[in-house]
């Protein structure tokens, strides 16, 4: 029976204070059946947010819901329904893929050993080779095989594709797209490799210094932002309130603006370029400086 909840994850006013860092009033939702990219530079607060969602660290304020359930009160039920992939494999080197199948098979009610075997075959992972002798790519594939073999409704990944070569990353991204074919499945994927998220994410949330900068559908965000490539004189004619930030170079300025359609009408003589998630992240991170090189 399908339960009625719109969002796989809901964060409302979540605050977590550390000495020297605060995750400040975080609000965003991961709609059911979608993949959300969680983007930010190192130390921006991605891992802390994910740890808060998973109740690995206690939050100071706010509310977190997963599948409409309270992330603390209903922790056991939630954890049957989620899978988590970290950047580093948390399995002991002495185990092999068969051992992990047995262990996870006992931990999850809905463990599907046939599916697990299929993933092992698909990833060409040896069954009896010790994990300690796996390459980084193989370790990540094993972790993903374990994560996807118990019919989890939500996959939470913290920098899962970091440090992998592009071929392996592409293979893994394809697996995620296949996983999302089921409309009940959702993914929250944190990364600072924006090209991966550009490929597969439906929605994106940018975080910097513990604060959410933008959150919304990827296509809307990309359509809403543009980069004006102009001379330094032209740049002076642009209203500062329209500017996110400006990259100066020896030849001129690259100005990021919001509300692309409106800006194109307002500054019709200037050249507007499409932007990427990476550029949006960089321009927003430098928002406080306004001008940067």
């Amino acid at each position: 029976m399908s339960e009625i909840f719109e969002n796989a994850i809901e964060l409302k006013n979540v605050t977590k204070k550390y000495d020297g860092f605060t995750l400040d009033n975080i609000n965003f939702n991961v709609p059911k059946g979608s993949i959300m990219g969680f983007i930010g530079q190192n130390g921006a607060g991605k891992t802390t947010t994910i740890r808060s969602i998973l109740n690995l660290v206690p939050i100071d304020e706010g509310e977190i819901k997963m599948f409409g359930l309270d992330h603390k009160k209903d922790e056991r039920e939630i954890k049957e329904r989620i899978a988590v992939v970290f950047d580093e494999l948390p399995f002991h080197d002495i185990f092999n893929a068969n051992h992990m199948g047995k262990i996870f098979g006992g931990l999850y009610k809905d463990w599907n050993n046939q599916k697990y075997t299929e993933y092992l075959d698909m990833f060409q992972l040896p069954r009896k080779k010790k994990i300690g002798n796996f390459s980084k790519g193989m370790k990540m594939k094993l972790q993903i095989a374990c994560a996807l073999s118990h019919n989890a409704e939500l996959l939470v990944m913290d920098e899962a594709t970091t440090g992998l070569d592009p071929v392996v990353r592409n293979e893994i991204l394809d697996i995620f797209l296949e996983y999302l074919q089921n409309e009940e499945h959702s993914i929250l994927m944190s990364s600072h490799i924006t090209s991966d998220l550009e490929k597969i994410a439906d929605s994106v949330t940018f975080i910097d210094k513990g604060k959410i900068l933008i959150s919304g559908y990827k296509d809307d965000i990309l359509a809403d932002h543009s980069v004006i490539k102009c001379t330094k004189n032209d740049y002076k004619d642009i209203d500062s309130s329209d500017i996110v930030s400006v990259r100066l170079n020896d030849f001129g300025a690259e100005v990021m603006v919001r509300n692309s359609d409106e800006m194109k009408r307002k500054y019709s003589g200037l050249v507007f370029d499409r932007t990427t998630l990476e550029e949006i992240m960089v321009y927003y991170v430098n928002k406080s400086k306004k001008e940067w090189r």
Partner: protein, 281 residues
């Protein structure tokens, strides 16, 4: 497999090497004592021992004392080594980040605490069986008739001390977030063990005015009360000639040891469950 079973299975595989090495060390330790005993009976030491002239009760007491030292030292040693639990799994869980990952799995803190408790119980059972084997072999070789009750009490006190040290240390280990904190916790365990064993040494060397000396068959020996007991014998629970001043301690502690071990196991389960529930920043 149930969640508890797979956690036990996981623990078994990770700690197998550590447990095997500990067992190997213990067996070597036992073999060493058995070889010494064999040497006394049929080997090179037989000549040395047969040269000792036993002219009076004092000589007889000293000879009996040496035999008992060999026997009881092995009882204490085997009990100490066999009742050690290995921390391999806990340490590797911190090092591989499984500790954090485990919070994302649908296993309860009770399951995690139960694994520690079952580990402790199986270690105690293993310790008991190996100690019994050692007592049977050693007493057969030395042709001793050890006081079974006293020997059991001695074993129980040593196991109690180890269990108590674990009870105090586990919360620190379960709180540890990295290798450094795990090392600090294991260092604390060593300090706790030193304090506990020193306390026992202090307690059993309390002076006793009226010492009753018995020979190997339990018959009272007529030995003057001002006989000087060498300092190295203070800690030895001499049931025959020179052990009377500490027998009272082990009589009391030995009786209390088993209920105390059970109480520590139950309390440990609740404390470890609470610790396994806690999240750290």
């Amino acid at each position: 497999m149930s969640k508890l079973k797979v956690l036990m299975y996981r623990d078994f595989i990770i700690s197998f090497k550590g447990k095997f090495l500990l067992l190997f060390g213990t067996v070597n330790f036992m073999l060493f004592y058995w070889l010494v005993a064999l040497s006394i009976k049929i080997g090179n030491l037989k000549e040395a021992f047969s040269a000792i002239e036993i002219n009076n009760a004092e000589d007889a007491a000293m000879f009996s004392f040496i035999m008992n030292v060999i026997f009881y030292a092995s009882v204490v040693g085997i009990a100490y080594f066999t009742s050690q639990v290995t921390y391999t799994t806990i340490i590797s869980d911190v090092n591989t980040n499984w500790r954090t990952f485990a919070f994302t799995l649908p296993c309860s803190s009770t399951d995690k605490a139960l694994v520690l408790m079952i580990n402790r119980i199986t270690t105690i059972i293993k310790s008991f069986l190996l100690s019994v084997l050692n007592c049977i072999v050693l007493s057969s070789i030395l042709e001793l008739k050890p006081n079974i009750g006293f020997t059991f009490k001695l074993w129980a006190v040593v196991v109690l001390l180890n269990t108590f040290a674990d009870f105090l240390t586990f919360p620190f280990i379960l709180k540890a977030r990295d290798k450094k904190e795990v090392n600090a916790a294991t260092f604390i365990r060593i300090l706790i063990l030193i304090v506990l064993f020193m306390s026992v040494i202090f307690l059993v060397k309390l002076p006793n005015d009226k010492i009753v000396y018995l020979n190997m068959k339990g018959v009272k020996l007529d030995i003057p009360q001002n006989l000087e007991i060498p300092p190295e014998s203070w800690i030895m629970p001499v049931e025959n000639p020179m052990f009377a001043n500490c027998a009272a301690f082990f009589d009391v502690m030995g009786v209390l040891a088993i209920p105390l071990i059970i109480a520590l196991l139950i309390c440990g389960l609740f404390v470890n469950k609470r610790m396994a529930e806690r999240r750290y920043d």
